[in-house]
């Protein structure tokens, strides 16, 4: 076995040193009737070339070479090549959690820089070292708000990513956190009147997403006003991190629960991604997850350590702020490098290209179909309502090697034939024109079908 670094002679010498005859003696603590005396029924050992070939085949069966208009919490942005060149350095890839700070300063300083940039971009005081993803981060933020306020219920926007809501439901079930769901208006934004009625003295937090699931930017200040006047916290979930380049961050939020996948993390069929929580300084001791902090060594030299560990499970056990143990360090490093590459000016220019592509697409789609939720600013996603079922249109688009928008019926039955489309800097004008062309064709054929009976009658 090519990963195992021992010759038969090495093994024999080691057995002799231990003072046993056979390696089987080492397994004698396992009761004989439970020892496996056969080979596992798994695929036979493969050569590296066979492994590569097997996965390349799977890649070909997995939408290889398709252009995509999908977003909805997983965004296709360009990944600068330096990201993979750097994260594949063994010293990052094959290091453990930096508990032994003297031997892990590289990882720790990188986390410290990550925390700084996330805080800067989100407009919060500070950020943690990362969470599993945006969905679990949002759920953890709600539990954090419950701890801070001592209140128990949560008010949730219905235009929060539906799968984030599902995860929150799972987490909240046994925490006794009742939830109220707030509908959205014709602009796709949360209904402020209903929100105002829903928030009361038992509300620990209001959780919204901005840009929300439909791509529309919320009036965060107005929402914060409603939450804060009744002593509730405002949590803003951000699924499309690239928006922070040009959309004003939710500075009046108390907690930002972000999914940073857009920043240099491959789509990877849904994971691993990079959640992160950012908050105000006064709430830091209630924040879950790892934190890197700056300190000095015995000679006064600057260094970094994991800190405030008394919040965490390995110290507090059942009294910890969360059961979370790992973070997404290597994925956070991708995010970190991406943010460093684009930086202060590049992130804004990148976001501007996303806006421009989206504005063009909205205009073109709008000529042939109905673009919903107009009347509020949006970032890079928009909802198109067609006469025909979008699954059928998407099926034809696949023939052009294009993946169309996400049909919304599954999550929002009342939206019928609407689909959520996304444009990024990688979306080309010709992709947009092809997709619009097929949608236009679909609309024409539906119209002519509707018209047919009349013609027959005549």
């Amino acid at each position: 076995m090519r990963y195992l670094p021992k010759s038969p002679a090495d093994r024999a010498a080691m057995l002799q040193a231990i003072g046993i005859r056979s390696v089987d003696d080492l397994f004698s603590p396992i009761p004989a009737e439970y020892r496996l005396s056969r080979d596992l029924a798994i695929p036979r050992q493969m050569a590296e070339s066979e492994i590569v070939e097997w996965f390349k085949q799977r890649g070909k069966e997995n939408g290889e070479g398709f252009a995509s208009f999908l977003g909805a919490g997983a965004y296709s942005h360009y990944r600068p090549v330096v990201i993979d060149a750097l994260v594949q350095r063994g010293e990052f890839l094959t290091a453990y959690t930096p508990y032994q700070a003297e031997f892990a300063q590289g990882t720790l300083q990188a986390i410290f820089e990550f925390q700084t940039m996330i805080a800067e971009l989100t407009g919060m005081d500070l950020a943690n070292a990362s969470m599993y993803d945006g969905s679990t981060g949002a759920a953890e933020a709600v539990m954090m708000a419950v701890r801070i306020t001592g209140r128990h219920s949560a008010v949730i926007a219905r235009n929060l990513h539906p799968e984030y809501r599902e995860v929150l439901n799972t987490y909240a079930t046994h925490q006794a956190i009742p939830q109220k769901l707030i509908p959205f208006t014709a602009s796709g934004q949360i209904d402020l009147k209903q929100l105002d009625q829903a928030v009361d003295d038992s509300t620990a937090c209001v959780l919204i997403q901005s840009p929300n699931f439909f791509g529309t930017i919320e009036d965060v200040e107005a929402i914060a006003g409603i939450a804060h006047k009744r002593g509730a916290l405002l949590i803003v979930s951000i699924a499309e991190a690239a928006s922070l380049g040009i959309v004003e961050p939710p500075r009046c939020a108390d907690i930002v629960a972000m999914e940073a996948q857009s920043f240099g993390v491959p789509l990877g069929f849904g994971g691993p991604y990079c959640g992160v929580l950012a908050t105000k300084e006064k709430f830091v001791r209630q924040m879950p997850g790892r934190l890197a902090g700056q300190t000095v060594d015995k000679n006064g030299k600057r260094g970094f350590v994991l800190t405030l560990a008394t919040r965490e499970q390995h110290i507090r056990r059942e009294k910890a702020t969360s059961n979370i143990c790992t973070n997404q360090a290597l994925v956070a490093l991708m995010v970190n490098i991406f943010m460093t590459v684009y930086g202060k000016i590049g992130l804004r220019e990148l976001a501007k290209q996303n806006l421009a592509k989206t504005a063009y697409a909205v205009e073109q789609f709008g000529k042939h179909a109905k673009v919903l939720f107009a009347g509020a600013p949006r970032f890079n996603e928009f909802v198109v309502e067609t006469s025909e079922d979008p699954y059928a249109i998407n099926s034809r688009l696949l023939g052009h090697k294009i993946i169309g928008g996400l049909p919304l019926k599954k999550f929002y039955p009342e939206l019928g034939h609407a689909a959520l489309w996304c444009c990024t800097e990688l979306t080309t004008r010709s992709m947009i024109d092809t997709a619009v062309g097929l949608v236009a064709e679909s609309e024409r054929s539906v119209l002519s079908k509707d018209a047919e009976p009349e013609e027959v009658a005549r």
Binding site: Q100, T295, L398
Partner: protein, 496 residues
Amino acid sequence: MKHMTRKATRHISQNEGLIFEKSSPGKAAWKLPALDVPEVDTAKLLGKQEREDLGDMPEVSEIEIIRHFTRLSTWNYAIDLGMYPLGSCTMKYNPRVNEFVARVEGLANGHPYQAEKISQGALRIMKTLSDCLLEITGMDAITLQPAAGAQGELTGLLMVRAYHEAQGNARKKVLIPDSAHGTNPATAATVGYAVENLKSNERGMVDVAALAAQMNEDVAALMVTNPNTLGVFEQEIHKIAELMHAKGGLLYMDGANMNALVAKTRPGDFGVDVMHLNLHKTFSTPHGGGGPGSGPVAVKKILEPFLPTPVVITKPDGTLAFEYNRPQSVGRVRAFYGNFGMFIRALAYIFANGPEGLRQTTEDAVLNANYIRKGLEGVYDLPYSTPSMHEVVFSDKLQSKQGVKTMDLAKRLIDYGFHPYTTAFPLIVPGALMIEPTESEPKEELDLFIEAMKSIAEEVEDDPQYVLDAPHHARITRLDETAAARKPVLRWKREV
């Protein structure tokens, strides 16, 4: 006297400030393509929502970025540099082919919401990995969705709770041995269960008589780690399972570390009802400085209805699909399908090993741990003489007579070119030194480690202060952790 180490030599290490300290206006490492659609008026589109300024985000060039992160990387220790003997962490070799295949185009760029008919490759990977893990664990059904071990525990306990609720009584408590990882009690609390401690016996195992006395109809499950954190196999595991089952309880196994069991025995065969696996331990996906992990949960048939949605199913025509309609499901624990990139890596590892490779891997892991145990027995105190599996736990009892504790010994190990072992865990061993070499170490590396540990023990006798002041050769000396926690500095700020 101070000993020289054969493992490492000091060399020049580059200094490097924070990236913000290198930033200056006008430098850039990015270039966007020419826009093929009309420019937009952002103020008109966004109104008051437009962001004017990104604050103190850096502005640097590409070469500075390469140097910055490369320099930082050289300050880390890594498996690629040598043995990483962290007990319970399973720091084994992370094969490079895993990284290569995870970056295959259709897999790395696959969108989680693309149609199932163009997702058959990803689904096939999930199905194949599931089948392999079920065969390895001897369980009946599995979810790959949990993002890490702790979330796997959460998922497992949610299913335990749902199972009991379906029987008409959720029950109140979860029993957890005092040797368990901290995530176990933290998870039980998250699911709304009270935690009841279970004392270990003098051999470091679950005290079966005590369990029998504590087990009743209020207990939902026992969370047992096997081999436990002492590296000891619970020899009466089948009796433990019988005791639990007799009173309607379930047996949860923390299978984060399966490195002593794979291809040698199967939890499903010895009575486990539900368990999680850490792909980033046993199945070689990289730790990456603290994540991402992946924590699949395997269960017996009785728990299958409660698996998180969606699950992968085979349709009559042989194609694969996600099934969402599962009314008894505990729900979703993560958006999308889990850490898919880790599934690819774990499956590539299983392919590279095959049945005989996995068996040899387990045997070598246990052989290595016992070789270290033999080499250091007598030099360090061995609190439990029970046979060791994949890891061995010593204590600092002998060295603490000189005032030197496990953490001091660990810091001195850094000077010898080794990453420290796990310190002060499990909690049932005061001053624990928890050592897990994994199968990835050649005999020469193990010999160097044993030599280093012996040498440090001698130093403790000759000059304890020198060990207390360690590390001496790292980039920095010990950091002031108290100050870090008292006045936390968690981000850089521009000096004004």
